[in-house]
């Protein structure tokens, strides 16, 4: 792990000097700002049961579907396409260090982008002067959920990037995997055929992997260690597969 910090600082530096990072950040904030304003205008028309914070985090999947593939599709696919992975792996660095460095940099950017949406709530509080809009419980819970689920989502994106040398293919794989995990698991959870006798244990597993339920728990202020374990173990698994993905490509290149 000697070179992890060298690789990480290199990756962050590359992100900071690259104009595309700022373009992505601006577009992301514009998009999230649009959602936020829509929610607020909806609230101004008629009274609602839930706080705007709650609804805002309810829509987390929308940015996840496009931001995560875009942020991660480049990381390993580009290295392989340019051949720089060869110069990288012939220095005394291990594949694990390379994958972890890229993963951490992408995760920090993801969290940073989400963190900047905190400004919306500040602006709302400042100009409405009404503390009711800023419910600290759901806010903290929501950001905690974003931070922890982001670990897994970014790891899935990195894994997709390790599978292909083509960025577009990597992006589509990442999108499909995330879609399957978030939406696919929800529709599986609603499927009636799973509720039948022999499938009961499978049903339990599907129920455990309901990301929407996790989100509800987090925004209600319930931090369940089972949820943490789900995301952490998923992250570790996805990263191990990414490392294997890079090494398998070397064996068969």
């Amino acid at each position: 792990m000697k070179h992890y910090l060298t690789l990480l600082s290199h990756e962050i530096r590359m992100l900071l000097v690259s104009p595309s990072t700022y373009v992505a950040a601006t577009a992301f904030l514009a998009f999230m700002g649009f959602i936020f304003t829509e929610i607020l205008s909806h609230y101004s028309k008629s009274p609602q049961e839930l706080s705007p914070t709650h609804v805002f985090f309810e829509l987390f999947w929308l940015p996840v579907f496009f931001m995560v593939p875009l942020l991660t599709m480049k990381c390993l696919a580009e290295e392989r396409r340019l051949g720089t992975i060869e110069t990288l792996l012939t220095t005394p660095v291990t594949t694990t260090e390379v994958v972890l460095g890229k993963y951490t940099a992408a995760y920090l950017l993801y969290v940073g982008l989400w963190g900047s949406t905190g400004g919306f709530f500040y602006i709302l509080k400042r100009f409405s002067g009404d503390a009711r809009f800023l419910d600290p419980g759901p806010l903290i819970g929501g950001y905690l959920f974003i931070g922890i689920s982001g670990l897994l989502f970014i790891a899935i994106g990195v894994f997709a990037s390790s599978l292909s040398r083509n960025q577009a293919v990597a992006g589509i794989i990442a999108f499909t995997l995330l879609f399957g995990l978030i939406i696919g698991m929800r529709s599986l959870g609603e499927a009636t055929w799973l509720a039948q006798g022999g499938m009961a244990s499978l049903r339990d597993a599907v129920d455990y992997a309901q990301i929407f339920t996790h989100r509800d728990d987090f925004t209600r202020g319930v931090v369940d260690t089972r949820h943490l374990l789900f995301y952490l173990s998923g992250t570790v698994l996805a990263l191990i597969f990414s490392i294997l993905g890079v090494e398998a490509k070397l064996l068969h290149s």
């Binding site: 000697k2 070179h3 060298t6 690789l7 290199h10 530096r13 590359m14 000097v17 690259s18 340019l82 051949g83 720089t84 060869e86 110069t87 990288l88 792996l89 012939t90 220095t91 005394p92 660095v93 291990t94 070397l250 064996l251 068969h252 290149s253």
Partner: protein, 333 residues
């Protein structure tokens, strides 16, 4: 630690197959410390694959590779600390500046921070890159990019340097610079370079390895190879006189000396002849004396030195004969 007496590179019975296709089949060779070795072969001969296995980037299917006595397969980390590698096509990150890239690579190669700055200055100076050190690599011309790759390979002063076609795409002036650069490493570092530019190899390298279809077909100094592959010397002669008596006269000088090719006599009476002999030492003087003594007029006599190009062609063609079914007509080589 590495064994101080072990050769720099030791390859024995190396085999690499990709999904049933044999890229490298049973290659064995040694490279002594401080030696500069040229690695020649036609496209697809297995040069790049062999080099990648040497660096530990690709695993071998069978056989063993040792760098400074360290087996690459079981101790890749220690081997990677001792090599500088410049891959084929020299991949570089486009969006970094030259000095940034050098710093990053130096840190990855575990050059201590304290000496990294002066070392980068030194390497940029040696490779004539000082003027472009703050430029983006993506904006550099091919020649500069090649030199960035070479600078990067020698940055950490590794004892073994492996370069895959370092002079490809350079103009003659830059080739000269790279040649001097590599020659400057002689004795301090072991260098193995592959190239298509044969005169380059001949000038810079102590020894040449020619591989074809995954096999070593010839190895040795360019002089040794000439003897091994051609096994004879060739003379070119412009004479006028009683040509019918020539064969007898020639075998009087040296039994293996014979006329190989004879052109039609020209209008001025001179004929161009090509002579072959198995003798290595120069027969020129004896030849001129005998010819003059027997009434020939000699206008020119040249001993032909086969270039590395001829060697390369002969060696790769010879291996083709070995691999392909024997043709009815044997090649003279």
């Amino acid at each position: 630690m590495s064994d101080p007496a072990a050769p720099a590179i030791e390859v024995s019975h190396l085999v690499k197959t990709f999904g049933g296709v044999t890229a490298v089949s049973d290659i064995s060779f040694n490279v002594a410390r401080g030696e500069i070795v040229g690695f020649l072969g036609p496209n697809g001969a297995g040069k790049s694959t062999t080099m990648r296995i040497l660096t530990g980037y690709l695993p071998a299917t069978s056989g063993s590779v040792k760098i400074l006595g360290l087996p690459v397969a079981s101790r890749p980390d220690e081997v990677k600390r001792r090599i500088g590698y410049m891959p084929e096509n020299n991949p570089l990150p486009e969006e970094m500046r030259v000095s940034e890239y050098m710093y990053f690579r130096g840190r990855l190669k575990e050059v201590p921070r304290r000496i990294l700055g002066p070392r980068i200055d030194e390497v940029l100076e040696v490779c004539d890159l000082k003027r472009v050190r703050h430029k983006l690599i993506g904006q550099l011309s091919k020649g500069y990019r090649q030199r960035v790759g070479i600078a990067e390979a020698i940055l950490a002063e590794p004892p073994v340097i492996i370069m895959d076609e370092p002079t490809i795409g350079l103009d003659p002036h830059q080739i000269l610079i790279v040649r001097d650069l590599i020659a400057g490493l002689r004795g301090r570092m072991t260098v193995i370079i592959s190239s298509h530019i044969l005169p380059e190899i001949e000038v810079t390298c102590d020894r040449v390895l020619i591989i074809n279809q995954g096999r070593v077909v010839a190895q040795g100094t360019p002089g040794d190879l000439r003897r091994d592959i051609f096994g004879h010397s060739t003379y070119e002669l412009d004479v006028a006189g009683p040509l019918a008596t020539l064969p007898a006269l020639l075998s009087g000088i040296e039994p293996t000396l014979r006329v190989d090719q004879q052109q039609e006599p020209r209008a001025d009476g001179f004929t161009h002849l090509t002579l072959h002999t198995g003798r290595e030492d120069d027969l020129g003087e004896a030849l001129v004396r005998e010819l003059l003594a027997h009434g020939f007029r000699v206008r020119s006599l040249t001993r032909v030195h086969p270039t590395l190009e001829d060697l390369f062609l002969a060696a790769t063609r010879r291996s083709w004969d070995v691999v392909a079914p024997p043709s009815p007509r044997e090649h003279p080589a």
